[in-house]
Symmetry: C2
Subunit: 413 residues, 2 copies
């Protein structure tokens, strides 16, 4: 089964918006074992979209068309698919009612053009909308004696993901003769390279290759670290989960200390949860990261029951005067430890975490660009470490944030 992807929108071609939807769809298709060989971007122009759909359908069994389902005159996906199918668009009263109800529930007047979204190509199946106004479509197409299918999903990312997971991937699996269900689980790791993980998991990968189910894939994910994704096929979701539970524990035996979370966990949500369980409050003292550590923690709703705050001590005098760092080089383990202690005292926290380092462009205190000193004080340990980071200013700072979170995680687990 080969399914290609078409992203629709002139703003994508002009570079006003980066098309991230195709990448997400490609990732979901790959996880379900469906090949995707070409992805297209095309503008809001019916002639070109129609021609592209016809050409693309000679290359693939299925297409996901993303975007162009809204209410305005430049939303032309419905019209283009109907033309390729050779059928008229028909008003669907069920969809129309849903749209009217949605506006009523929000207490807003509905502009009449919203009912364009209730037009459905004859013979297509509606994917009910649960988050917005435009429904998705499953459209059978006969091309050159072959049965093909075109899926239309909205361009709004969370509406798109919902429909891909709920309707498109299951429908594709059915058409591919897949009778069961597919469930994935992603273990998120930090602290080991792809080749390092690969080596540790050599035996597990050989066993999985033999068994054929679940499959295991590595995904390098930048600031999210290396992900290890297990994808299981089974007759029921419950059976898939049993399989995943077993193989997750096998993987954890080899790389367990590097696994910081599963699926929707983030490094910051995990750190906050570990501190919450211990009943420890957190205070930060940041120099090189300039507030980024606090910024990421406070992105998590409910961070306030753990995080007291942060002293961003960018000027050295703030380190000396407010945090009580003794005179001497400020990029040092001694300064880092004093900053952590200062954070506990000034912010009234149980745990103090500090970062001081050199992001560049120039060296500082005789330390090269990329130097990071971390200080950590908990009710149980006083710890300090120095790391050399690769990369330019921004990369060095981002990497410092994660490195500090990972250290905190390992000391609170």
């Amino acid at each position: 089964m080969r399914c290609n992807v078409v992203a629709v929108g002139t703003e994508l071609l002009l570079g006003q918006i980066v098309d991230t939807n195709s990448a997400v769809i490609g990732e979901r298709l790959a996880a379900a074992g469906i090949n995707c060989h070409v992805q297209y971007k095309v503008g809001d122009n019916q002639d070109r979209l129609e021609r592209l759909l016809r050409d693309a359908l000679t290359e693939a069994d299925a297409l996901v068309v993303c975007g162009g389902l809204g209410p305005t005159h430049d939303d032309l996906t419905r019209e283009s698919i109907a033309a390729v199918m050779g059928v008229p668009l028909e008003h669907d009263e069920g969809v129309a009612t849903t749209i009217r109800d949605l506006f009523a529930a929000r207490g807003r007047a509905m502009a009449p053009n919203n009912l364009r979204q209730a037009m459905v190509p004859h013979g297509a199946t509606v994917i009910p909308q649960t988050r917005g106004t435009a429904p998705g479509l499953i459209c059978p197409v006969r091309v050159g004696g072959h049965d093909r299918v075109v899926y239309a999903v909205p361009g709004v990312p969370h509406e798109m993901v919902d429909m891909i997971e709920r309707a498109v991937v299951p429908d594709l699996c059915r058409r591919a003769g897949e009778t069961g269900t597919i469930v994935s689980r992603t273990l998120k790791t930090w602290g080991e390279s792809e080749s390092g993980l690969n080596q540790r998991l050599d035996g597990v990968i050989a066993d999985l290759d033999q068994a054929g189910n679940p499959t295991l894939a590595f995904l390098a994910s930048g600031w999210d670290g290396m992900k290890v994704r297990l994808t299981a096929r089974a007759s029921t979701a419950a059976q898939a989960v049993v399989l995943l539970d077993h193989w997750e524990s096998v993987v954890r035996e080899e790389v367990g200390e590097h696994v910081y979370g599963v699926d929707e966990d983030t490094m910051e949500s995990v750190v906050l949860e570990l501190l919450r369980r211990r009943g420890w409050s957190l205070g930060l003292a940041e120099s090189v990261t300039g507030g980024l550590v606090a910024g990421r923690l406070t992105d998590v709703p409910g961070a306030s029951d753990v995080l007291r705050g942060s002293v961003v001590s960018y000027a050295s005098e703030v380190k000396f005067d407010l945090l009580g760092v003794p005179d001497g080089p400020v990029v040092s383990e001694a300064a880092a430890l004093a900053m952590a202690a200062g954070a506990c005292r000034v912010l009234g926290s149980d745990v103090g975490l500090s970062l001081t380092g050199v992001a560049g462009p120039a060296e500082q205190d005789g330390q090269p660009v990329g130097t990071l000193c971390i200080g950590l004080i908990t009710p149980m340990v006083r710890h300090t470490t120095t790391v050399r980071m690769p990369g330019q200013r921004r990369q060095m700072r981002e990497l410092s944030v994660i490195t500090a979170f990972d250290l905190l995680r390992r000391h609170c687990s």
Copy 2:
């Protein structure tokens, strides 16, 4: 002249990396007045890449192929283009010498496979590499009796942009019969909607439509605000700059107070420069933004000569105890002003800027989600304001950062 774009890389189809290069190329082509109707992503597979190139060349006068020029066995762009041209690849000793010299200059041993990058399709012109090892290529192709051209550029973003600007766009313009040069200038604005800017610039746009040169375009750019881009054509760059200078001043007459910067300026670089000119140091007190304001300012090299630091007072007690905020609701203008004063005192700064608000999920102090109070104290003013922000937690926080920067900018100009 129509130029389509092909991004090459299996990791793009699998969603492991989002293809941002095509968007950047599309933006540069649009600025030069060159149409781009379809953009493709294809994997590292020579058969598929070859077939795609042949098909795509029936739809466009030119193609930019991005990626697949590296030294490894899955870099197949050179081979595929040569096959479509119907010519052999030939070793280019000039390119080989450049690659060898680059490794020697970095003191690294060169693996022999790097010389794959010196293979050039017979009849192609090399775009010299100035930042990496793989050169770009300009490849004439004859398709169905028409002369077409395929440009190959590396997938590394800064190498790609350099070659697009330096070689690809000028070559396309020459082929399009454009004899002069094209120069763009982007005015960055904050504080007025696209329709608002449009209305203010109604007369200017009418004059420009009449004159035909330069052209004016609006680009909605999220946290960068609305951009107004002027693109001038002239015989020489110097003449284009004269044109741009004139029309920039005309645009500024209508929307000047909303223009915060030009081209590479960012809101944070502009704010730091304004403070630097005044000789004022800055201290921050952040609650709702949790360190994001400091985090963005410290992204700019040299921020340390202006920014003293930030007190991220996430817990209310930190506001009371450290910043000296009086008892009472902490989401209020009074609290914001006290926080700004506390920042000046605790951090020893000339200017204090504070943010307190409600990012959600729940309301606080009787204030709805989206409330933002900003406090600003400079040697010349004490100012406080309350704004209602749209959006979810993350959007509300990001918007708060920019809103505070914009307020600071307007009071330091």
